[in-house]
C-alpha cells in the first residue's frame, strides 16, 4: 500500500519499521477470513485489514489516538491468526505493538479503564500479590452481582476454585538430569502461571529431567514483559524483559545453555521477539541470544525425543488438542504437540476451526469480557463436538478460559506427556482409563 510519512517521521526507527510493514500490505483482505473478531462482529473495522488501515491513518497523521481507533485496536486479541494467513508476510505483531505504544502515549483512557489496567499490572505479574488477589476474589464472588463493571465481574469469575500452595520447585535451583545428561536448559517458570497452577512447572521439570536435561530454575524470576507490552506500556515491558534476560543469562555462568524452555506459549512469543524489542539498545546482543535459545517445551522435546513410555493406563484416551494462538500463530508451532501426544499413546482429535482463538489472550478475557465469552462459547462447542475425554493445551490462559466452560478435564500438554512417561496421573482426570 501507498504510505504518506514525512522524511522527518521516518527518522524514528519505530515509524520506519511500521512504514516498512505497511508497504508490504497489498490490501487484499485475505486476513479478514481468519480473524476471530471479524468472525464475530462482521465489521472490517474489527478485522486485521481494517486495523492496519486505522493504524496507518493514525501514525501518518501523527495525531493522538482517537476513541474509535482505540476501541478497534483494543478489541484485537493479538492472536496473530492474520500473520499465519497473510500471503505477503505482513508483520502485524510489530505494527500493532507500535500502535499500542502510540495509544498509550497519546490517549487518555476513561478513569475506570486506567484503574483496571493499573490494577492488572500491579497484580498479575507478581505471583505473591496474585495469590492474595485470587483468594480475595474467592471471598468476593458472592458479591459479584454488585460489581458495576462487567470486567470486574469477569475477573471474579475467572478466579479458580482452589489455589494451589506455592511450589518449592519454582525456587532458584538446578535439577540434575536423570540418567545420562543430554542437555542443559533453563526453565522460564512464568509469573501468573505459578500462582494459578503449580502442576505445570512440576510436570515440566520431571519430564525434562527424565528426557536427560539438567534443568536450571533462574533465581527470583519475574515477568517476561508480555502483559504490559500488550497494553502498550513499552517502557514497563522493557524493564521487566531486561530483568528476565539478565536472570536467564545468569544461568550460563555455570555452563552454557542448550535452550531456554517455555511452557506458557504466550510468554514464548514475546521472549522469542526480545531480539527485535532491544534491537537498538545496549543489550541487543544479550536479547538476541535469549531469543535464539528460546524453545517451547514441545518444540524442544520433538527434537530431543521423549523419555520411554512407562505407563499402561490412559493409553488411547481421546484427547482434543487446543492449539494456543501464541503457539500456532505466534511461534508457528503446529504439529509438535500433537506428534508428541500421539507418540505418548494418546488419540488426538482436532476441533473444527482450529485456527480460531479461545478468547483468553492474556488479559483480554478481563478487558473485553463480551467478545471473549463469545469466542469461548464457540471454542468449547467445537472442542466438545469431538467428544473428547481430555482437552490439552499448551498455555495456562487457554486452560483457564476453556476449563471454566466445560466439564471435560483440561490439562497442559506436558502433564499428559509426563504421565505417559512415568509421572503421576494429572489431577482431575476422573474416571478416564
Amino acid at each position: 500500500m501507498q504510505t504518506n510519512f514525512t522524511p522527518e517521521q521516518l527518522k524514528d526507527p519505530a515509524t520506519a519499521r511500521s512504514n516498512q510493514i505497511l508497504r508490504t500490505c497489498v490490501h487484499c483482505g485475505f486476513c479478514t477470513a481468519t480473524c476471530p473478531t471479524y468472525q464475530v462482529l462482521g465489521d472490517e473495522l474489527d478485522s486485521p485489514r481494517g486495523r492496519i488501515y486505522l493504524i496507518k491513518d493514525m501514525l501518518e497523521a501523527g495525531r493522538p489516538a482517537d476513541e474509535k481507533t482505540v476501541k478497534h485496536i483494543d478489541r484485537c486479541l493479538s492472536c496473530l491468526a492474520c500473520m499465519t494467513t497473510c500471503p505477503s508476510g505482513v508483520h502485524y505483531m510489530h505494527l500493532v505493538d507500535h500502535a499500542r505504544a502510540h495509544i498509550e502515549a497519546t490517549y487518555r483512557r476513561p478513569w475506570r479503564d486506567r484503574a483496571l489496567r493499573w490494577l492488572l499490572k500491579q497484580v498479575i505479574p507478581h505471583p505473591g500479590r496474585f495469590r492474595l488477589a485470587l483468594a480475595g476474589a474467592k471471598l468476593a464472588r458472592p458479591f459479584a452481582r454488585l460489581m458495576p463493571d462487567a470486567r470486574l465481574r469477569a475477573m471474579l469469575a475467572m478466579a479458580p476454585k482452589t489455589i494451589p500452595p506455592v511450589s518449592r520447585n519454582d525456587d532458584g535451583q538446578t535439577f540434575p538430569a536423570i540418567g545420562e545428561r543430554r542437555a542443559r536448559v533453563a526453565l522460564m517458570i512464568g509469573c501468573a502461571q505459578r500462582a494459578l497452577n503449580t502442576e505445570i512447572n512440576d510436570a515440566t521439570i520431571r519430564l525434562l529431567r527424565r528426557a536427560g536435561c539438567e534443568v536450571v530454575i533462574p533465581e527470583k524470576f519475574g515477568c517476561c514483559g508480555a502483559l504490559t507490552l500488550h497494553m502498550g506500556q513499552q517502557d514497563d515491558a522493557k524493564t521487566r524483559a531486561r530483568d528476565s534476560i539478565a536472570r536467564l543469562l545468569a544461568a550460563e555462568r555455570d555452563g552454557a545453555l542448550d535452550a531456554i524452555i517455555i511452557n506458557t506459549s504466550g510468554c514464548g512469543t514475546t521472549v522469542k521477539d526480545y531480539g527485535h524489542l532491544f534491537e537498538n539498545d545496549d543489550i541487543a546482543a544479550e536479547a538476541a541470544r535469549v531469543s535464539g535459545l528460546t524453545r517451547d517445551v514441545t518444540e524442544f522435546l520433538e527434537g530431543l525425543g521423549l523419555p520411554d513410555r512407562a505407563r499402561t493406563e490412559g493409553q488411547g484416551a481421546r484427547v482434543a488438542y487446543h492449539s494456543a494462538c501464541s503457539l500456532q500463530h505466534g511461534q508457528q508451532i503446529k504439529s509438535a504437540p500433537g506428534t508428541l501426544l500421539t507418540r505418548a499413546g494418546f488419540r488426538i482429535v482436532e476441533p473444527a476451526d482450529p485456527h480460531l482463538c479461545c478468547g483468553s489472550a492474556g488479559t483480554y478475557n478481563l478487558l473485553q469480557p463480551e467478545l471473549s465469552s463469545e469466542l469461548k462459547r464457540r471454542k468449547v462447542a467445537t472442542l466438545e463436538a469431538t467428544s473428547p475425554q481430555i482437552i490439552a493445551a499448551g498455555n495456562i490462559g487457554c486452560m483457564m478460559q476453556i476449563g471454566g466452560a466445560t466439564d471435560v478435564p483440561v490439562v497442559h500438554t506436558v502433564q499428559l506427556l509426563d504421565w505417559a512417561t512415568g509421572g503421576p496421573r494429572p489431577d482431575g482426570l476422573g474416571a478416564i482409563a
Binding site: C28, F30, Y53
Partner: protein, 486 residues
C-alpha cells in the same frame, strides 16, 4: 488518475437526517464516524480511495430491503460491498454513497446434496461454501485465488472465475438462483433450483452486473461431488512464447485439464524468493492439473506429456505424492503475495484467444521495456485469461500514472487481438474508461438501458463500468441532483 463524479451536494447537505433514518431502519448497524468510514474507502485496488457517507451492515434480506427503499426515497446512491477484494475498484464508494456491506450475512440456509445444491446468504465466503458441504463429499467449483476471503455476492457481482474454471465454468455456470433486492426495496427471486426458470434469463443478466442492478442477498449454488483424485504437472520452458504455444496445443488437442496456470520468469523468481516452492529457474512454466480416477489421470497426463515434448520443455515434473502436488501448487498460490514483495502492483485482467498468447506475451514484453516498468505474468492460461501485474512504486509520484497508462495499452492490445477487457475481475472503475475501446456507443447504450430497467434513477454503483461522460446524462437526471462536470 481516475476521475470520480462530483458528489451530490444535496445528499451531503442532508447527511445527518439520512444517517438518522438509516439508524432507525437498522439499529446497531450504521457506521458514520469519519475515522471509521475511511476503513471502507477502498477495496483491493487501494490506489483509488473515497470514504463513503456511511456504511451499513445488515443481517437479513428484510433489512437490506428497508435500507434500499430508504435510500431510494432520499435519493442516496448505494454501493454494495461483499468482502472488498475486488481488484477493479468495484466496491469503492463515492462520497455521497451509503455502502451496504454484506459481511454479516453468512448463514447457510439449505443444503440438499440429493439435488446438488446449497443455498447461502450472499456474504458467505466462497471457500466456506465448499467447507459447508465438504463432509458430504461435495464442493463448490469456482475457485478465485481470493476464495478464502471473497464473498459469494461479490463473485456474482464480478462473475468470478478461478484456476479450475477451465473445466467447471465460472460463477454464472454454477449459479442456480438468487434473491435480490432492487433499488426501491422490492425483493425479487430469479432463477430456480433446477436452473431453468421460464422467460428471459435474467439470472444471467444479474451475474456479472457489478452491483449495478440490485443487491443479491441469497444465492442457490450448484455443488458437485468431489473428484476421486487430481494430479498436477509442472512443465518448464525457456521462452514465454513456447509456453503459450504449448497451451494452445493442449487446448486444440481436446484434452480438458481442470486447470492450466501460467507463470513467467519475474513471477517465478519472486515466488521462489518468497515461498521457496522449488520451481526451476526458467523463462516460463505451466501448471497443468487433471482430475479423475487413477487410470483417467494417467491417460490424460500421457497425452499432455506427448504434446509438451513437441515444445522442448526444459523440465516436465510429475507429482508422485500429495506433498509433491502441494509443492507444485504452493508457488502459484503464493504468487500474489510474492509479487507484493517486489513493490506495489496493479493486477490487470484481460482475456484473449488462446492462440494469440505467444504474440501477446511478446508484445507485453516490448511495452514493459518501453515504459520502463516490469510486468510479471501469472494467469489462467487455459481460457486465455491473462493477469499481467505491473510493478511500480506507489510512493514515487508519477509511477502510478505510468503504470496505469501501460495497463491501458495492454488491455487495448487484448481487445485488438480479438479478446476482451476483463476475464473475471470486472470493469469497476479500473477499466471503465476503456469500455469505448471494446464497445460502440450503440452497444453501451443498450447495456445502459438494461440498467435503466432495474435502477431507473441510477443510484446503484452508478459511477462504475460505463465511462463517466457516457453515463452522465443518466446519472444527472436524478431528481434534486446538482449536475456534475463530466
Amino acid at each position: 488518475m481516475m476521475q470520480m463524479p462530483e458528489p451530490d451536494a444535496s445528499v451531503l447537505s442532508r447527511r445527518e437526517a439520512i444517517v438518522a433514518a438509516l439508524r432507525d431502519a437498522v439499529p446497531g448497524a450504521v457506521i458514520d464516524d469519519p475515522a471509521e468510514t475511511r476503513v471502507y474507502e477502498c477495496d483491493a485496488l487501494s490506489a483509488y480511495r473515497c470514504a463513503p457517507l456511511a456504511v451499513v451492515l445488515p443481517r437479513t434480506t428484510d433489512e437490506v430491503s428497508r435500507l434500499m427503499s430508504l435510500c431510494h426515497q432520499h435519493g442516496v446512491p448505494v454501493v454494495p460491498r461483499g468482502a472488498g477484494t475486488s481488484l477493479a475498484g468495484g466496491s469503492m464508494p463515492t462520497a455521497d454513497a451509503v455502502v451496504i456491506g454484506l459481511a454479516r450475512m453468512t448463514e447457510v440456509l439449505e443444503i440438499a446434496p440429493g439435488d446438488r445444491l446449497i443455498r447461502v446468504q450472499s456474504g458467505r465466503t466462497n471457500l466456506s461454501v465448499s467447507g459447508a458441504v465438504d463432509g458430504q463429499g461435495f464442493f463448490y467449483a469456482p475457485d478465485p485465488s481470493s476464495q478464502l476471503a471473497c464473498a459469494i455476492g461479490g463473485n456474482i457481482g464480478m462473475n468470478s472465475g478461478g484456476a479450475h474454471c477451465l473445466k467447471y465454468g465460472v460463477t454464472t455456470n454454477n449459479l442456480l438462483a438468487v434473491t435480490m433486492v432492487l433499488m426501491d426495496g422490492t425483493v425479487v427471486e430469479l432463477g430456480g433450483p433446477m436452473g431453468e426458470a421460464g422467460g428471459l434469463d435474467l439470472l444471467g443478466v444479474v451475474c456479472g452486473s457489478e452491483g449495478q442492478l440490485g443487491i443479491v442477498t441469497e444465492a442457490t449454488l450448484r455443488i458437485l461431488p468431489k473428484p476421486p483424485g487430481a494430479r498436477p504437472v509442472l512443465i518448464a520452458f525457456d521462452s514465454s512464447e513456447t509456453a503459450g504455444a504449448c497451451v494452445a496445443a493442449i487446448i486444440r488437442a481436446g484434452v480438458l485439464p481442470v486447470a492450466i496456470e501460467f507463470m513467467d520468469r519475474p513471477c517465478i523468481r519472486a515466488t521462489e524468493a518468497h515461498a521457496h516452492a522449488g520451481y526451476p529457474d526458467c523463462a516460463a512454466l505451466l501448471i497443468v492439473e487433471v482430475e479423475g480416477t487413477a487410470p483417467e489421470i494417467d491417460e490424460q497426463l500421457a497425452l499432455i506429456r506427448d504434446i509438451a515434448q513437441g515444445f522442448d520443455p526444459v523440465e516436465f515434473r510429475e507429482s508422485g505424492s500429495e506433498d509433491e502436488s502441494r509443492r507444485i501448487w504452493l508457488g502459484r498460490k503464493s504468487a500474489f503475495g510474492a509479487m507484493g514483495q517486489l513493490g506495489d502492483y496493479i493486477c490487470l485482467d484481460g482475456t484473449i484467444p488462446v492462440s494469440a498468447l505467444p504474440r501477446v506475451l511478446a508484445r507485453i514484453e516490448e511495452l514493459s521495456q518501453d515504459y520502463g516498468l516490469s510486468v510479471a505474468n501469472v494467469f489462467h492460461a487455459g481460457d486465455g485469461n491473462m493477469h499481467p501485474l505491473i510493478i511500480h512504486d506507489a510512493n514515487t509520484p508519477g509511477d502510478l500514472d505510468r503504470a496505469e497508462a501501460l495497463g491501458a495499452d495492454i488491455l487495448r492490445l487484448c481487445v485488438e487481438v480479438g479478446g476482451c477487457l476483463t476475464g473475471e475481475h470486472g470493469v469497476g472503475i479500473e477499466k471503465r474508461d476503456l469500455m469505448t475501446a471494446q464497445y460502440t456507443p450503440a452497444d453501451l447504450e443498450a447495456q445502459m438501458r438494461v440498467k435503466d430497467v432495474f435502477d431507473p434513477r441510477w443510484l446503484l454503483n452508478a459511477a462504475k463500468v460505463f465511462p463517466l461522460d457516457v453515463s452522465a446524462s443518466r446519472r444527472n437526471a436524478r431528481p434534486n441532483r446538482g449536475r456534475d462536470a463530466a
